[in-house]
């Protein structure tokens, strides 16, 4: 995190919230330490925390931006932000980030009869089939795609 871009926000105050992983602060906080437990604790009425929902393994989770139209039928559009988890064991059918010739590529992983293929989700785009001696490494598994609507 670079400080330059945020220093103006810091001066405005309230910046601490802006950088924490969770988007919202808990509404209810029990302060009773002895005696009967606060009834609110049991209800667990806490605002939904998006980061908590979407990120299972914080240390292994990275954000990557998708560029291109080859995954449209899988719901991934140009400019979408992908939530990528490296802790998830990649399996056939997963949408993955793979390293092909030193570059990140987003495709659907397909394993059939021991052969690996990276399939595009758009008929206009070719699949990536590793050639003899070419190594294709799966970098992480895409768990969610965030798209922003014009508003």
């Amino acid at each position: 995190m670079k400080i330059n871009s945020i220093s103006s926000e810091l001066r405005l105050g309230g910046a601490a919230q802006a950088f924490s992983s969770s988007l919202l602060l808990p509404e209810l906080k029990a302060t009773v330490r002895a005696g009967f437990p606060s009834p609110a604790e049991d209800l667990g009425a806490k605002r939904i925390d998006l980061a908590e929902r979407l990120v299972k393994h914080p240390q292994a989770t990275f954000l990557i931006r998708a560029r291109g139209d080859s995954m449209k039928e899988a719901g991934i559009f140009d400019g979408d932000v992908l939530i990528v988890d490296r802790a998830v064991q990649p399996r056939s059918g997963h949408v993955v980030i793979a390293v092909v010739d030193g570059e990140f590529v987003c495709k659907t992983l397909s394993m059939r009869a021991g052969r690996m293929k990276l399939k595009a989700a758009n008929p206009g785009f070719p699949d990536v089939v590793p050639k003899e001696g070419q190594t294709v490494e799966v970098w992480g598994v895409v768990l969610h795609a965030i798209k922003s609507m014009p508003a």
Binding site: M1, K2, I3, N4, S5, I6, S7, L10, R11, A15, A16, Q17, F19, S20, S21, S22, L25, P26, K29, H57, P58, Q59, A60, F62, L63, I64, R65, A66, R67, G68, D69, S70, M71, I76, D78, V81, L82, R86, A87, I97, V99, D101, G102, E103, F104, V105, C106, K107, E137, W139
Partner: protein, 435 residues
């Protein structure tokens, strides 16, 4: 029992996670202002590039050997370090962060096969974060550091040590013969705490290997050399002498970190602790005549409690390299404010100074009208006086008022022509995948 977990060629490894095309290529990371090499890939080491090698002396290797040089990206390294450290913490009940890429894990009370456990943690860090590590396990810190050296060297240079010790080396399980063979294959200068000067003098005196040193009578070590060397000898003999947070400084950074006796939730006490760590780090920095240009601050909860977990760090670039206590405390507090989140019981906090250079290299800038340059000389005098007072009357006699938050550091125009994006800390710098 201790483990030392250490990221291999850490800065280069961080860069490679996001630029896989750098795999197999000689890579160096340059200090701020692109002055000299502060991290090297194995391929770069094979080219003969040394730590601290000035850039202008190795620049020609770009053309002839395909060397890739990158400007240091401390925002990235700080975040990757945080991810790695919090996974390494799973190895045992206590963790001491020694530098940005190294931490000691106390293994007392851990049951089962330690080596198998270390192998599992190492592979988790590699898979989850993308950083390859070396792990050394031994009954003392000095031996753990040595085991780590063996683990890394055995992997990098096949034939240097038996292959079974590559990546993870457990000296506590070695037979006496094997232990002797491993220490005999290690030069005395590679032992933790043996500096270059003493190393040369020891070699001169016929103490050439770690094994030679381990066989020395501690009383002789104390009489002929120093108490520090006596301690090293005892540690090599398996007697723990180096306690928690009481050991030689790492070369690349200065770190002041501590686990709290009782967990801390409020901002006030946290900011006091961080101010104190930053002041102590600044003191150490001045003691070695250096300046730093990046300050890393981190806070984290304990992974061994059922509490909600939180771990965050931030690298704050300083306006210009400095060893000034108030500038460093200011930067650390600015970072703390940004990462602090209420509702978590923090168990640990720390401050690390990075991109350390001798103060003689300090670059002064034109006075831009804010009076900073003009007051530089008087600040140096103030800091000298501060250290003298604290040296005489005890640490912390005179402190920087921690309520005062230093001014927001602005970008000082540094040369960082080759810096990669802040992939994990800036929304606009996120890596891109072809879809």
């Amino acid at each position: 029992m201790f483990a030392l977990v250490d990221g291999n060629n850490f800065y280069v490894s961080c860069e490679r996670v996001f630029r896989p095309s750098l795999e197999g290529v000689p890579v160096v990371v340059l200090s701020n202002n692109d002055g000299c090499a502060i991290a090297r890939s194995n391929e770069a080491k094979a080219l003969g590039i040394k730590m601290g090698h000035p850039w202008h002396q190795i620049r020609h290797l770009e053309e002839v050997a395909g060397l890739v040089a990158l400007s240091a990206n401390f925002a990235l390294y700080g975040d990757m370090s945080d991810r790695m450290m919090s996974l390494a913490a799973g190895l045992g009940p206590t963790q001491e962060i020694y530098s940005i890429d190294e931490s000691f894990i106390g293994l007392d009370g851990v049951r089962g096969d330690l080596k198998a456990r270390a192998v599992a943690i190492r592979s988790r860090i590699h898979r989850w974060v993308g950083i390859p590590c070396g792990v050394g396990i031994a009954p003392t810190k000095t031996l753990a550091k040595l085991a780590n050296h063996i683990a890394k060297t055995a992997e990098r240079k096949p034939g240097s040590y038996p292959e079974c010790h590559a990546q993870v080396c457990d000296l506590s399980k070695a037979s006496p013969e094997e232990f002797e063979a491993l220490l005999s294959a290690t030069e005395v200068g590679d032992v933790w705490g043996v500096g270059r000067k003493i190393g040369a003098a020891l070699t001169e005196a016929g103490v050439r290997t770690a094994w030679d040193l381990a066989r020395m009578d501690p009383a002789v070590a104390k009489r002929r050399w120093s108490v520090v060397l006596e301690r090293t000898v005892r540690e090599l003999q398996g007697v723990p002498c180096v306690g928690l947070e009481d050991h030689p400084e790492p070369k690349k950074q200065i770190a002041c970190t501590r686990s709290f006796g009782r967990s801390v939730e409020a901002f006030e006490p946290l900011s006091e602790a961080v101010s104190e760590f930053a002041s102590r780090a600044a003191e150490k920095l001045r003691a070695q005549g250096s300046v730093a240009s990046e300050v890393l601050v981190f806070i984290r909860t304990s992974p061994f409690r059922k509490d909600p977990q939180y771990s965050r760090s931030m690298v704050v670039p300083m306006r210009r390299p400095s060893s000034d206590t108030s500038a460093i405390v200011g930067a650390a507090l600015l970072g703390l404010r940004a990462i602090y989140k209420p509702g978590f019981r923090m168990a640990k906090a720390g401050v690390m100074l990075m991109d350390i250079q001798p103060s003689s290299l300090e670059q002064f800038e034109l006075d831009l009208g804010d009076g900073d340059a003009a007051s530089e000389a008087s600040r140096v005098r103030l800091m000298t006086a501060l250290d003298a007072v604290n040296g005489r009357w005890g640490r912390g006699t005179v402190k920087v008022g921690s309520a005062k938050v230093g001014e927001a550091p602005r970008d000082w125009s540094m040369r960082q022509d080759r810096r990669t994006p802040a992939y994990t800390t800036e929304w606009s710098d996120m890596p891109v995948a072809r879809a």
